[in-house]
Symmetry: C2
Subunit: 568 residues, 2 copies
């Protein structure tokens, strides 16, 4: 395969917007016919690009400070890359250019003067913006076009690493975690057996031991599995609990069991209901236990719900306590719930997907007192610990994961291998192939040490405290709760209304309106939702190590500015 | 934060193996006390590294052809990286060094003279090899150490991209797919809403439309979801089928349903049984339909199993047909099975996790004739299409995924957003957060075009055919089947035995013995397993675009050589 053009060639092409491809006039360049066809087909897009000045942006990038060899060509095809013979140089240049793009993106993401997002509606993106076409063709694009596609994909996405991105529980970009993910995707293996993932399997083992000791479990008690997301982790916990009490379910199904009941709080994550639906228990079997004003499960209400379930002929077997609810960040009283579970002989799960990170902080870990009494725990390192998405784990009871899920497929888990096959942990999983999530977490732990994670968690909590105290001193904001920080913005017109349904109706529309304008302008992002009898309110969450107090100030100023513009 | 050492410093330290850290004697370097503590703690490991020549290897890497700025320092801490103030330069150098390591690894992985793996037993890796310690500390490591850790992690892993790695259905490393994964992890977002993943959500939509048209489905029929692994995809299909016939199951659970039956072949993947166990149907509800000698489901046996299930008072509702069984690569007669499903009113799922890729080839797609009649299909792009792990999808019936799984969490799927919220597809999933698997596939499609995927699939099949014809001409190998190529190696001693239990006992031990020695030597890897009444045999699978006929020859020669050594 020969080069089909140089950077300069492409720029010339875009600048002149000719209908004959200039490749044909360059004697040192040989162009396969299908590339010409493709150039013609793309002419319209390229003209667009020219008209919008897109080509200039691309040229600018070529002169970025990260550029090493400035006259490197990129207009090869993917067939020129490894494993092609002598493909090393092209591969090197292609990945080097990609690195430059990624470095520029990271740098921009962390620059407070750049936008968090450049919003476009679905139909706009689908129609193709400035030559960025999402459509797929029968013929290949060249490497240069692919790099531009990568750049455009990032450009029209959302910069979740931006210090002013407050929209999700998982924010931020850890460079070490990112490096870990790049290594993982280069290793490109599966973590079901020691045979093909020896190092990663052992890292899982070591990380679990570490997490168990932080939880307060002995080495014998602990077991666990990394799985794709907190909802899957919670599903595992229900699966394990059901198997623990009714092992016949694995072979005979729910028909061999009495009608079951699960208990979780009204503020808990939807995944408990989803698990009940998926596992054939039925979402109606989930009893929602009342919470206090702060969103914490009321232990007496739990007891009473257990009795109600029993009086209806159901068999309660599982209680989910939440350590860090999704909206308020509330932590259920774990010790009280553990007492009740012990008394009634129930499985206690703690959904600490969001709150688990607090265990790493000496200052905050007492908030989760009693978590060591749980039978299973969900803890998402990609939330408070800012590990790349998604890295979740469930820590359960030793041996039970294997018993509950194993099917001993002979093509994968051969018992006659020449090493200790107890390290072939894949049969614990309800998946077969499983993405390697462990390495980025392991590498981050190496890079930060437990002490580094501790100060990262403390930093996030300090930001939350700062926002809380800022809000307390302002009249145009009102706090419904004081964890995760949730609040309403009150335009003057609403502030002057007497409490009641009319005011609520008005207030309910404030957050969506401000959020819409916020996304159009793109300088910050924060989530909103209603909850129970509370109309739409903002929820600010802190998990991004890049966020500083000045960003918190900026957020409040932006909401105020947008609110005043909308309600003046 | 200040630099704590330079590369040369580290080398000096390793070379002299002193007990006092030489950092202290370098006036231009300031060392935080905890780094000194850490250096002391690691002294033993560093000495090991010195004794084994590890430091020389590291120095060699620093002079690798991928090196740009050879006197760049790496001995910073992660706190010097972005988002630290002025962290851009350190970040750039750190990721540049990482790129050099990854390029060297990729190059080595594709070099036929390098090993596929450098095998060590779990206890050896746990004890720490040549200074590579998996243990985690309270204090941070410096960036240089982290880079060495990345290098070591790759070194002691398995090179799944190696042309002689035949061990799994998913092999190979596509550079474009890898680039896609690096972009994805840099974007670090979640794919539940258009709000935070606008580009990726639309790419899923476009890829699904492409795949549906390849399957032969109309635009209206198709729907789908990318999920973490083929087993999860198959679980989705059972979930959808159950909901389709018995929508009450979502709220009321299995107790509101009659006893169900699922049907799948004896050669099908274990995930159908696992799904039945997880979903509360019970693994005993799975009826295993007999296969012919080639591993294909026998339609008459399917009919008879359906009748048997009914006679036992069960309600059959779901048939899984496999297009590419895990071991033989057999494809069930899809049209015949579709006829039966239509006649009995059953849901037909096709598990084309492995075989789906054949649809991309004009030459091979007729093998899957009838697949368009399926109600749902599993198709794993990370297998035959060599997309990075894991990228799996399920293509189901429009609307049903949403209905079956939605719970409308208000904190995530607010109906009062300012854009078309039909693009917030996350509620289709049984997960909440979901890894972005789509971009690498989209980028590969751009890079190859449909034509490129076609020739990649054809290339893999040509390798399989080549192996098949090679084996046919040799006496010391025997073929049980002729798809996925499966075969026994027959040492002379076994070859001379009369067929019978004694010969089988001997033959059963041949593959594990050869595999053990093969892994110790590390030059190639292939899987083995027993199946039904057949004792352990090798299974060679082709999905690695890097594999050529010479690698197939090498595999056979290696098995022969190892076999002769073991049985001489």
């Amino acid at each position: 395969m020969v080069p089909v053009g140089f950077l300069t060639h492409s720029v010339v092409f875009w600048l002149c917007g000719v209908t004959d491809c200039p490749c044909a006039t360059l004697p040192h360049v040989q162009v396969p016919p299908f590339v010409l066809r493709q150039h013609y087909a793309k002419n319209k897009n390229l003209e667009n690009r020219f008209l919008t000045g897109k080509h200039l942006e691309y040229s600018k990038w070529k002169r970025s400070p990260y550029k090493h060899q400035s006259n490197v060509i990129c207009s090869f095809l993917r067939l020129d890359l490894l494993p092609a013979k002598n493909g090393e140089e092209v591969t090197k240049h292609f990945l080097q250019e990609l690195l430059n793009i990624l470095l520029a993106y990271i740098s921009k993401s962390l620059n407070r003067s750049s936008k968090v997002l450049d919003f476009h509606h679905p139909h706009q993106l689908k129609e193709g913006l400035e030559g960025f076409s999402l459509e797929l063709q029968d013929q290949p694009d060249n490497l240069e076009q692919l790099l531009v596609d990568c750049q455009d994909t990032l450009k029209y996405g959302v910069k979740t690493a931006h210090p002013c991105f407050f929209n999700q529980l998982s924010t931020g970009l850890d460079i070490i975690g990112l490096a870990g993910e790049w290594v993982t995707s280069t290793a490109n293996t599966n973590i079901f057996t020691y045979e093909i993932a020896p190092v990663f399997i052992l890292m899982e083992d070591i990380i679990f031991k570490k997490m168990h000791s932080i939880i307060g479990w002995s080495e014998k008690e602990g077991d666990g599995i990394f799985c794709p997301g907190g909802t899957m982790s919670n599903l595992y916990s229900v699966l394990l609990a059901r198997y623990h009490f009714f092992p016949r379910v694995k072979t005979a199904g729910m028909l061999a069991l009495p009608p079951l009941a699960l208990l979780t709080s009204t503020h808990s994550h939807f995944s408990i209901k989803k698990s009940a639906a998926v596992l054939g228990i039925g979402s109606e079997s989930v009893f929602l236990v009342k919470c206090d004003e702060r969103g914490k499960m009321i232990p007496k209400e739990l007891e009473s719900s257990i009795r109600t379930a029993k009086s209806k002929g159901l068999v309660p077997f599982y209680v989910n306590a939440t350590a860090g609810t999704t909206v308020y960040g509330a932590i259920d009283p774990l010790n009280d719930i553990a007492d009740i579970c012990e008394r009634f002989g129930l499985w206690m799960h703690v959904d600490a997907a969001w709150g688990g990170g607090l265990l790493l902080s000496k200052r905050h870990r007492m908030k989760l007192q009693g978590i060591d009494r749980a039978s299973s725990i969900t803890w998402n390192p990609h939330k408070m610990m800012a590990v790349g998405k998604a890295a979740d784990c469930l820590c359960g009871c030793q041996g039970l994961l294997q018993e509950c899920n194993q099917l001993c497929a002979e093509y994968l888990f051969q018992p006659d291998k020449h090493y200790d096959v107890s390290y072939d942990t894949g049969d614990k999983s309800i998946q077969c192939g499983r993405h390697v999530d462990i390495f980025k977490l392991w590498l981050m732990w190496k890079a930060k040490g437990s002490e580094g994670f501790e100060s990262q968690v403390n930093h996030c909590l300090e930001n939350a405290e700062y926002l809380y105290y800022k809000l307390k001193s302002r009249k145009d904001f009102q706090l419904p709760e004081h964890s995760n920080v949730c609040f309403w913005y009150l335009p003057t017109s609403v502030r002057n209304m007497p409490p009641g349904p009319e005011r609520d109706r008005e207030l309910h529309m404030v957050a969506p309106k401000i959020k819409a304008k916020m996304m159009e302008e793109g300088m910050t992002m924060i989530g909103y939702q209603p909850l129970g009898d509370k109309v739409n309110f903002f929820r600010c969450v802190f998990s991004n190590p890049a966020t500083q107090k000045e960003d918190v100030d900026f957020l409040l100023d932006e909401i105020t500015r947008l609110g005043r513009e909308l309600y003046s």
